[in-house]
Symmetry: C2
Subunit: 216 residues, 2 copies
């Protein structure tokens, strides 16, 4: 198996640290005990070779030999197919994992990322949109609550669906969007207590902190 | 193979007609020549049996025997695995399709759906958010333009990635968001000229029109 290389930005400002999407891939790689190394691409001056790897100029992407994969959802499925620790070989369980990955990325995050912008940017002077997105996120987490009250993980055992869903909920929780949803909160707590998450999170913070140190 | 049943709302208001997400699944089923029938679930009064099938109270879901699948992304992958007409059996091509499905649903649509709300609702009195989302969608389609200028379809042949991406772009195009992107426009034109799309679209419109007729 050729070496796995995860590419992320060389630096990001303070607010997104701990939330940059390479985290989802670091987490999966740690869960599966797959060796990898991290490379950097400029955050501030994104060049053509970046867009050749990631057409939208985002991060991360994963390289394995001459293969490059972008989009965290696609990378998670790819790694899931490399390791049973991330995705069950049972067709029914595999399907539920994939279902919930899309639920996290297309149903939950489509509401929560716009919502989080208003939290990041503070008072924008708008009145309609902050309320609209707040209602949207609240409806989503309200429907998620009974599901997570019944399940330790989305399928029986931890899978890529939990990486996607817990990371989406973690951002909602950062801005107190899970206040009325104890099962969602407990799920985030469970997920982020896993040694693989703790290492992935610490490694991302260290990566960006090292960039600061290098600048001084 | 047990019968495939696609469930959508019994009725929706005029504006979303032609854009309800069952369209993506109808389109895939038509492309693959898979026989199916359509069932309805109440739009206005969503009951527990709806949330049991689709935890967020959305549509569609697909039933096959005792199996129920929700999330259009997951259903498209499932159907792709049923039919080579939707997803290549070549691992590298399959990966590119899955990559671009996530690009459509998690990178493009996360910007375009919030953006479309301001188009649907007209002047909300907000000033910051409409501009923010407009810039976001413009940046995304600007980066997509050179990719689609070089490819007839995302992979060599039509796949589930094109269903997801073309349907996302179709909504952007509805509100003139592709004005400066001729390759994106031509791609939407190519995709929506396919007989499978034309039938899927006409069938969805007829389904909701029949509900109107039934009410009178």
């Amino acid at each position: 198996m050729p070496e796995l290389i995860l590419t992320t930005y060389d630096w990001v400002p303070e607010p997104p640290r701990g939330y940059v999407r390479d985290l989802r891939i670091r987490w999966a790689l740690e869960e599966a005990n797959l060796p990898y190394r991290v490379e950097s691409t400029p955050f501030k001056d994104r060049q053509a070779d970046h867009f050749a790897k990631q057409p939208f100029g985002q991060v991360p992407w994963l390289t394995e030999g001459d293969k490059t994969i972008f989009e965290t959802g696609a990378i998670l499925i790819y790694l899931g197919e490399c390791s049973e620790l991330l995705l069950s070989r049972d067709p029914a369980k595999r399907l539920v994992s994939i279902e919930w990955m899309f639920a996290a990325l297309n149903s939950m995050e489509m509401a929560s990322v716009p919502w989080s912008l208003f939290k990041f940017f503070g008072d924008t002077g708008d009145t309609w949109a902050p309320k609209f997105f707040d209602d949207w996120v609240k409806t989503r987490v309200k429907h998620l609550e009974p599901v997570l009250a019944k399940h330790e993980w989305v399928v029986d055992t931890f899978s890529i669906a939990d990486i996607a869903l817990a990371d989406v909920l973690r951002l909602i929780n950062r801005f107190n969007g899970l206040e009325d949803q104890p099962a969602c909160q407990a799920y985030v707590e469970r997920a982020t207590s896993r040694p693989a998450f703790i290492k992935a999170h610490a490694d991302q913070l260290a990566h960006f902190a090292a960039a600061d140190a290098h600048k001084r």
